[in-house]
């Protein structure tokens, strides 16, 4: 088969389409997961702190913590993972604070999003970009 310029162009466009497609799909998955948590309510900001490293030395074990004084629940989402949901912390009457830390898996460089349900039923979100290094000599 000889390739005409048009074929080459179509192929190139196809390539672009193929690489573009998963992005909105992924974003949708995160939006869906977040909407499932908030019931589609609009989102404010402030009152919620998400602490995550700017650069994770390995995506397999990334320490994060969330803190939202007074919150009833805090959910964490990894927008660049195959499944965005990470964890949901529900604070009981004997919680000493509305803070929690854990270690999570991040497949690639991405935004981690925390969403807190505040006592008045409103939602706030915080976002943090984590660069995941793909090196990992040895092993």
């Amino acid at each position: 088969m000889t390739m005409t310029r048009r074929d080459a162009l179509a192929l190139a466009m196809g390539g672009v389409a193929a690489t573009m497609l998963p992005l909105p799909a992924l974003a949708d998955a995160s939006a869906d997961a977040i909407a499932k948590f908030t019931g589609g309510a609009s989102m404010g900001e402030g009152g919620l702190t998400l602490t995550a490293p700017e650069i994770a030395e390995n995506g397999n074990t990334v320490p994060i913590s969330v803190d939202a004084p007074g919150a009833a629940e805090i959910a964490v989402f990894a927008t660049g993972n195959p499944t965005p949901a990470v964890a949901t912390f529900k604070f009981g009457p004997l919680a000493g604070s509305q803070m929690a830390s854990t270690r999570i898996r991040l497949q690639q460089t991405q935004d981690v999003i925390a969403v807190a349900k505040m006592p008045d039923g409103t939602f706030v979100q915080a976002k943090s970009t984590v660069k995941v290094t793909i090196g990992g000599c040895g092993g």
Binding site: S65, V86, A87, G92, L94, A100, R105
Partner: protein, 108 residues
Amino acid sequence: MKNVRPRVKVPKSASAGDVITIKTLISHPMESGTRKDKEGNVIPREIINRFTCEFNGESVIDVTLEPAISTNPYIEFEAKVPEAGEFKFTWYDDDGSVYEDTQKITVG
């Protein structure tokens, strides 16, 4: 084979009304369900999907865990200690197993 064992770190004593830090770790592979074995077959998901902590029967925290939680899940949080009593920690495995640990605290 899984070798699951829970670990918790709780102060032995506190003053009434104190807020204390609790650390928990359970050895568990947290098989995500997205990995494949050498033959290319998907390894079935098998994770700790829920963790709870109660003090004298009242909830401190209730956590839903997804496959994005790292191997050997680590959770740190704070609890109020209104009186002497016992913390109860429970981990729920996809395979139906439930792992428990308890820790007493005195109020001085």
